[in-house]
């Protein structure tokens, strides 16, 4: 029982970070399917930086910086160049998938090794603290009110004197940093290694957690924990050697996420500019 809960927390941590990044950017009115690419890029960069610098925390920091930079790229494309956020997200995801795979293959290997792993507890605590901090930001500060106003109606926010695109630039940078922390947690707390496409859709599962959590950071984190439990059960079943084909077990996280979306109605909770 206890090992299962620990596994749940460990597997949920990257999802929580990504879901918080998603909540943050969608509350400010920008669809962020680029989370998947940010997780993957940060996982790759954090492992490479850890191997290079010999310190996991320096590696994790590099992952955060990488996620934040991609967030700013997403902001430049969507806010300054007016690219449709979904297409900008597709481009970032595709580019990161190609670039990380390209880098690994150029190195002539099937993955990168960090040489050490990070303690998972630190990331879990950071994830839960971030969820609380984001809730406080949204509902207890003037900045949070402005941010939510951008998501409900950008023209109204502009009329109230808020610089919508400047705020969204900042928001996407921070959201990218959160996803970057998630990517670092994904790569550094498990095996301390990076393999191509290791995020395997976690960024999108996190977005489903955002929807199920009704764009509320605490509920989104709770939904991410639920998906983490599903993942932990899957791993538990595989290690116990239960006679279920592994391909079928791998289907479970996605099926569980879709089923959750089928059973919960969420339309009314979406920020108005995204609905």
């Amino acid at each position: 029982m206890i090992p299962l809960l620990v596994a749940m927390l460990r597997l949920a941590t990257p999802l929580i970070f990504a879901a918080l990044g998603g909540t943050l950017s969608e509350r400010a009115g920008v669809v962020n399917i680029a989370l998947e690419g940010k997780l993957l890029a940060a996982a790759c960069v954090s492992v490479a930086a850890t191997a290079l610098l010999g310190n996991v925390w320096a590696g994790a920091l590099a992952g955060v910086a990488c996620g934040a930079l991609l967030g700013l790229l997403h902001a430049s494309l969507t806010q300054a160049l007016k690219v449709e956020p979904i297409l900008s997200g597709v481009a970032i995801n595709l580019g990161v998938l190609g670039a990380t795979d390209f880098a690994v293959r150029r190195a002539g290997s099937s993955g990168l090794e960090a040489g050490r792993t990070a303690p998972v507890e630190v990331f879990i605590v950071l994830a839960l603290l971030s969820a609380l901090a984001l809730w406080w930001l949204f509902y207890r500060t003037p900045l949070g009110l402005r941010l939510r106003a951008c998501g409900e109606s950008a023209p109204a926010a502009t009329a109230a004197g808020i610089s919508v695109s400047a705020l969204r630039f900042g928001v996407l940078g921070v959201a990218g940093g959160l996803a970057g922390l998630g990517g670092s947690a994904l790569a550094l707390t498990g095996l301390g290694a990076f393999t191509p496409d290791m995020s395997a859709g976690r960024g999108f599962i996190a977005l489903a957690a955002v929807i199920l959590g009704r764009w509320n950071p605490l509920l989104a984190a709770a939904a991410a924990l639920l998906f983490g439990l599903g993942d932990a059960l899957q791993v538990e079943l595989q290690t116990r050697g239960v006679k279920i084909p592994p391909d079928f077990l791998e289907l479970l996280p996605y099926a569980l996420t879709l089923l959750a979306l089928i059973f919960f109605k969420t339309r009314s909770a979406a920020p108005a500019s995204l609905a």
């Binding site: 669809v31 399917i33 494309l77 160049l81 007016k82 690219v83 449709e84 979904i86 297409l87 900008s88 597709v90 481009a91 970032i92 995801n93 595709l94 580019g95 998938l97 190609g98 670039a99 795979d101 390209f102 880098a103 293959r105 150029r106 395997a200 859709g201 999108f204 599962i205 977005l207 489903a208 929807i211 084909p245 391909d247 079928f248 791998e250 289907l251 996605y254 099926a255 996420t257 879709l258 979306l261 089928i262 919960f264 109605k265 969420t266 339309r267 009314s268 979406a270 995204l274 609905a275």
Partner: protein, 351 residues
Amino acid sequence: MKSALTALGLALFLGAVLIAVAQKSFTAPWESYRALFVGALGSPLAIGATLARATPLLLTGLAVAVALRAGLFNIGGQGQMTVGALAAACVGFALPAPAWVLLPLCLLAGMLGGALWAWLPVFLKETRGAHEVITAILLNYGASRLTRYLASGPLKAPGETPQTPEVGALLPRLHPDFDVHAGLFISLLALVALAWTLTKTVWGYELRAVGAGADAARVAGIEPGRVRRNAFLLSGALAGLAGAVVVCGETPFRRFPADFSTLSYGFDGLAVAMLAGSGSLFLVAPAALLFGGLGAGAEAMAFAVNTPKQLVLILEAILIAALTVRISPLPRAARGRKQAEERGERFGGQP
């Protein structure tokens, strides 16, 4: 057209910079691109491979383009293609019918499979309010894992390799030495039929009207919800047809291998549709040809000069971003204002 060429030039330039940095050599980009070009167009064999790749890309590109004309992003083309391919393979190996009966049935099964997988996001959107982009992406992953399980378990053919039994209906090669197969004619037929439907029928008019502005369409008595649903299902059917064409036509397939979803035709359809732009639907054909050439060339390049073929993914990403700088909703208003100003000047009045 000009912006498509600019974007292509930008992508190739940034790709060249990347190769030069990765290989630490200034001649490497030139060698890589030459190997890519030779692999795409350098010999009759290469041209055959390019056409074979362009065949499903034309269909998946049309799938995205049709949804886009109705104002929808279909990012689920990959999953729809995979499910369509498995459906076609099942009909193809299970039904004991002569090939000329079986082939249309396989293609139909592919379209139905793709439409079914496209129906799920539509259903979730309409009844649960879940964003169709996110559900469609999750369904891509679902399709890949589900079909891999089915093809390596319940539907597996006897033997070592995880794959379904061979289908009884084949799209023959146009010439025994070249990869290009009769599926090319199916793709071209779909292109002509779709272009005709969009421009000459009420159904196509309604679809374009909803894409141009749902509120105006509603005022004109069109139900945007119904039109969007149908457009999304048609988009899924086209992606599914692409899967069926690959299973029945591409060698060494003629069956559904468990790792079918590693073929990225469905994802690439998005880049094809973006390159083709929002003008004439016929522009999807040259765009599919270009990406077919990039794909075939990248394989040859990876083999010849050791530049990983993932370069194409990066080029695709740059292309999508660079091409869509113009098709956002905001510049349309800006464009209208500019045109009004120009009109004002032409007639000598104050705007």
